[in-house]
């Protein structure tokens, strides 16, 4: 039954349709990614050419942020803190979970919508408000949060202005992701089509399922920590401020207990914040990577025309990964003096967690083995994901072991490591997903030539940006330094790389232009796509492109596993899940 014409606001702004909400999430997420990347392009100018006015936009920044076009240290810190916050909480997660998860989960499990459409609408708008609060902090007195995306106390507690709003923004984002993850889990458990047993689920759905559990269970402790830090900032408590703290020659806390005004009472523990923060933030890393693995799995199976090698092993690995990610958090804290017993525990769990990641990566590589690969644009991005994520993962091992981490901690080596995981790793997977499912969402294909320019340009630039960071970090160059650390002699030979990295970063900005053009022109002028343009097997290809509001005109039934490609004796090289067996 046709759903009938709805007014504009109901259709595009406050829609209950998971596909519209998914696209809202995806576009908002992409805009935030661009914004977060722009912040970094400004910072990279200061690092490449310290104390010189930033061209073009330097004059547009206020004198309070950049005097004469030269970035001030406080503003540099704001850009750094907000780059991390925007990229992780407002860009990648909303695109990977809110965008891809929302759009694809109901389609891939053969459901008409999410289990709670109104909750879905609410989680998008709570996220949007949280994002706006975060951006608006640039305009409050004292500027945006400047204590890093980790907001370590005591600096974050005594920092000016924007930090309070950063905390308020986080409460919104956490509320949004809690609502969203409940919705995802209930949808996957309750609304699977007839015949879609657990081991027939597409790998992408499994990855989203595990990520939803992480969001559900790991985010609330950060919410608790956020409330405590808010109390420290506005009510003068000292959850995170130790007694006798002196900053810049001024006593911050008094032991008397008769605190008045903002004077803190002392007795707090800054490490408490680190524990609560990383209890979220390490699982958060897997929230970033799991959907990426899911997307890559779908695309590799489709473009190798083979079932995923070791599907069951991959599914169990995803579950094990999600569980283990909750017990590795303190490997971010080896230099806090935690003692060898505790360090031994976290080193062990950290080594264990690398095993399921390697199982998944190896399974994906084994799927490629001996296949006749279709090098489509989404496949290029998916293939690049494998070595890029591999580099990111392997460079993480020395950070997971305390003896090597103590040398590498807080250097550019760490930056290189996690960016290899998230930037050419997760973000490449997200691009792959956009190119792959764009025909489903719009009914049109994206341009292949522009896609290839985007891919090769980004791949080269990504490596020129992040590979030198390993050299800098191994040489001992610290992160978060306004001028890159010019006053340190050991940096003398390392600083020249900042020019290389800067030029590569701005060039990569240019290579995103073909993508932006491609994205918007293809909506209107792309080559028309059929219901199943890639000859794929999962349920989202059973319906029209784009699907109607209720997704499927006849609710589908599932007859086989998710990736029955090249079945011996079959007429075609793909046997969709929604087609009954012959005979």
């Amino acid at each position: 039954m046709p759903s009938g014409r709805q007014p504009f606001f109901r259709t595009y702004v406050f829609s209950l349709d998971h596909k519209v909400i998914g696209i809202q999430y995806a576009i908002t997420g992409l805009l935030f990614l661009l914004f977060g990347f722009s912040l970094m392009m400004i910072m990279r100018y200061q690092l490449a050419y310290p104390m010189t006015p930033v061209p073009f936009i330097g004059g547009m920044l206020s004198q309070a942020n950049a005097s004469g076009g030269i970035l001030l240290p406080e503003f540099y810190n704001q850009l750094g803190a907000m780059h991390g916050t925007v990229m992780v909480f407002l860009g990648v997660v909303p695109l990977a979970i809110g965008g891809f998860g929302n759009y694809l989960i109901p389609l891939q499990i053969g459901a008409a919508d999410m289990a709670f459409p109104k909750l879905n609408l609410m989680s998008y708008w709570v996220y949007a408000v949280g994002g706006l609060i975060m951006i608006a902090t640039f305009f409050v007195p004292g500027g945006a949060a400047q204590s890093g995306w980790t907001s370590y106390p005591p600096l974050s507690v005594i920092a000016s202005g924007g930090q309070t709003w950063w905390l308020v923004g986080m409460v919104f984002l956490i509320t949004s992701s809690t609502l969203g993850s409940i919705n995802f889990i209930v949808t996957i458990v309750q609304l699977r089509a007839p015949g879609l047993t657990w081991m027939r689920l597409p790998f992408f759905v499994w990855a989203q399922f595990a990520a939803a559990f992480l969001l559900l269970l790991a985010f609330p402790p950060l919410e608790a920590a956020g409330v405590l830090q808010l109390m420290d900032r506005v009510a003068g408590t000292s959850f995170f401020l130790p007694s006798g703290l002196v900053v810049a020659g001024q006593a911050v806390t008094s032991m008397s207990g008769t605190a008045e005004g903002t004077l803190a009472s002392g007795g707090g523990n800054p490490l408490l914040w680190q524990h609560l923060f990383w209890f979220l933030a390490h699982p958060e890393v897997y929230v970033l990577i799991l959907p990426a693995m899911g997307i890559v799995g779908e695309i590799i199976a489709n473009n190798t025309r083979r079932p995923l090698w070791g599907y069951r092993g991959m599914v169990y690995s995803v579950g094990f990964l999600a569980f283990m990610s909750m017990v590795v958090w303190a490997h971010h804290m080896y230099i806090t003096g935690m003692g060898t017993t505790l360090a031994a525990f976290f080193q062990t769990t950290t080594m264990i967690i690398s095993v399921p990641s390697i199982v998944i990566l190896t399974s994906l590589l084994m799927t490629l083995w001996g296949a006749s690969i279709r090098f489509t644009t989404p496949m290029l991005f998916a293939l690049a994901f494998l070595p890029m994520f591999g580099i990111g993962g392997l460079t993480g091992l020395p950070l997971g072991l305390a003896p090597s981490d103590i040398h590498l901690h807080d250097t550019y080596y760490v930056i290189g490591h996690f960016h290899y995981v998230v930037a050419p790793g997760t973000i490449f997977a997200l691009f792959a997903g956009i190119y792959y499912w764009f025909p489903k969402a719009t009914g049109r294909r994206m341009n292949d030539l522009l896609g290839r320019i985007h891919f090769w340009g980004s791949l080269v630039c990504m490596n020129v940006i992040f590979m030198p960071m390993f050299i800098q970090g191994l040489g001992g160059m610290n992160r978060r330094l306004y001028d890159g650390g010019m006053q340190f002699q050991h940096n003398a030979d390392l600083l020249k790389w900042n020019v290389v990295i800067g030029i590569a970063a701005w060039t990569m900005g240019l290579f995103q232009v073909p993508f932006i053009i491609n994205f918007f022109t293809s909506i209107r002028w792309g080559a028309p796509a059929s219901a199943n343009p890639w000859d794929a097997t999962t349920l989202e290809w059973a319906t029209t492109s784009p699907p109607p509001h209720h997704n499927f005109d006849t609710p589908p039934s599932v007859y086989r596993a998710a990736y029955e490609y090249s079945v011996p004796g079959a007429e075609r090289d793909f046997s969709p899940q929604f087609e009954p067996e012959r005979g």
């Binding site: 759903s3 459901a111 008409a112 919508d113 289990a115 709670f116 459409p117 809690t178 993850s181 409940i182 919705n183 889990i185 209930v186 458990v189 309750q190 609304l191 559900l216 269970l217 790991a218 985010f219 609330p220 402790p221 950060l222 919410e223 608790a224 920590a225 409330v227 405590l228 109390m231 009510a235 003068g236 408590t237 000292s238 959850f239 207990g257 008769t258 605190a259 008045e260 004077l263 803190a264 009472s265 007795g267 707090g268 523990n269 408490l272 524990h275 609560l276 209890f279 509001h549 209720h550």
Partner: protein
Amino acid sequence: MQIPYTTEARPDTGLYNAKLGIWLFLASEVMLFAGLFSSYILLRTGAVEWPHHVLPVGMATANTALLITSSMTMVMAWEALKTNNWSRHRACLGLTVALGVIFLLIKFVEYQEHIAAGELPSRNTFFALYYTLTAVHALHIVGGLVVMLYLLGPGAKLWAEQPVQFTNRVESTGLYWHFVDFVWILLFPLLYLL
């Protein structure tokens, strides 16, 4: 467009959607309070000295009794729907709201006494924890009361059209209410007695 399993249970999982949803929500709430309670433990074990018996045990005991009673009336409100006894449902749910409101009033008096004595959150870590933990809990009480008032007011119309769905809503609200009650049962000894 109809989403399946909004009222009836899915045969292979044995759950309707909202029931699974509320349990997942409670799991996230457990983690929220786990974060707060861990903070309490870490700060208390690291403290040089810790104040004892500075809070009014009498008022807190009364509040504990009130919340436990309200959990009971909540179950009775749900049971009344199962046995089709509408007026008893209204009475029990109304009683639950009343008990929740009295809880908040007592809490308010307690806060006022401390504030009047100059015992603000910034006094020391104990009072910082006391205010934060009880305020987060009180916010949960307020949230529960808003939902119950909705079920007593505009939400009650659903009973005539969709009795099963309305009963499910009361059940989900009850699960949440019992959880909030349970948190208080942990807070009471941690803050007032130990």
